[in-house]
Amino acid sequence: MRAVEVAGIGIHPFGRHGDRTVTDMGVTAVRGALAEAGVGRGGFQAAFCGTAYGGVATGHKVLGALGMTGMPIVDVEAGCASGSAALMLASSAIAAGQYDTVVVLGVEKMPKGIIRSSFFEPWQEEAGLAATPAYFALRAARLMATSGVTKDHLAAVVVKNRRQGVGNPDAMFRAEVTAEDVLGSRLVCEPLHLWMLCSPNEGAAAVVLRAAGSSGARPGAGAGPAPVRLAAAVLRSHLPGAVLSESTPLAGLVDDSVVPPTTLAARVAYEMAGVGPEDLHVVECQDTDAARELLSYEELGLCAPGAAADLLDSGATSLGGRLPVNPSGGLLSKGEPLGASALGQVVELVRQLRGEAGPRQVPGARVALSHTVGRGANAGVVVLTR
């Protein structure tokens, strides 16, 4: 298998962008990534686009607006992990020799508030069971019941990520908040208050992947930034039986041993990349809500089961700590445009590995992990190295 590298990254800021269409935002992100990679028209052989609500032919519209079509364009949906799924498909195909250079993009334009998901059947909506934040709240409550996590820890995750997001010009929220602010915001579903939940919003991100050593650069293009290696991009679905799984079943078994999809994906990603959680220097993980970040610490093996609160309390996962998590500010600062969020994480981590992350730079970062998980269930784990 050939090694795969990230030759270029591009992003359209996450936020609220009025009349800018999904296509407009995707064009911005793809142009940025192509420019960095020195790749032009005819310089890539396939494109993969992650989107959950973009509609028919989302990737085609973006590439069509750029006059860059004719190759296979595949639009994939994997909920919050849509971008990871696109990345998995693209990197596998390059590793296998199917393509040399591939464009991967993620785009989304989501309405405000709780999203009406096509995931639920009409009767579930009618019965009040399509209450997405309530499922998050139940996971948070279980985490609190089975570990030392308290509501103060949930607030502390928000304070940490919002502080880190101040340094990210592509984030939607760039003001620090206090624990009092967080705990004083409206109660959505006990124990989750409004500011503990990320905002669905709008944005796009893109990367150009390339077989290491292949020359996809346009003649005359500059050398560009040092390439980052994509060491693993893994997607996994859920195993049956866990009632609070992101697959959102109506019932499950009295069985706490079901391995979550994040752990399934992480194990394979660590093996592919030849690293373990102890080798990581920086992580971007799914913080749809504050408890989800803490749960991710456990599921990714960043700490022992039940030790997420201790890891947070130690300061290790804050900027300046041993293993900063969500230096970009996370989804709590950036908001979550579903199809774009995973690639937004990858954009952040590539900047970190290149040493281009400015005020939020993790010094000497050489091994980075991106994690998304959501409806499906789908979990995506990506390992980047330099």
Partner: protein
């Protein structure tokens, strides 16, 4: 009328329409033709009447998409003696009045009145004083 056919029987006493797999002996809900745990096609329909124990709970304070009933309402997971954890509405909307592990009984509750004047019903769990039988 039930919000969905094949989900529960109104009773009294009410019961959930669940599946029991002869292959792996697990229960599932709602009842399906194939076991969602082991893929066996030998599934029998069984009635689960509870009571169970509260496993985890919260409350919904704002109407989610497509919901026309009252808010707030309780929301949680109850463990039934058959080894099943079931997601459902709770009749108690104040989380502080419930504690994990407490007995819960099955109930059938109204959601809203539909366009043809019929009361739409769903299953829910209510605090009870009957201890669940051991598994």
């Amino acid at each position: 009328m039930p919000v969905r056919a094949g989900l529960f029987v109104e009773g009294p006493p009410p019961a959930l329409l669940a599946g029991h797999c002869r292959g792996c002996a697990n229960h599932h809900f709602p009842r399906q033709p194939v076991c969602p745990y082991c893929s066996a096609e030998t599934v029998d329909e069984v009635l689960l009447r509870g009571p169970g124990r509260l496993w985890v709970h919260t409350a919904v304070t704002a109407a989610p998409p497509g919901y026309e009933g009252e808010v707030p309402y309780g929301f949680g997971v109850v463990e039934l003696p058959e080894g099943l954890r079931v997601v459902g509405r709770l009749t108690e909307a104040e989380p502080a009045r419930l504690r994990p592990g407490q007995p819960m009984v099955l109930a059938v509750v109204p959601l809203h009145v539909d366009d043809e004047g019929r009361e739409v019903l769903t299953y829910a769990f209510a605090p009870g004083d009957t201890e669940p039988r051991d598994r």
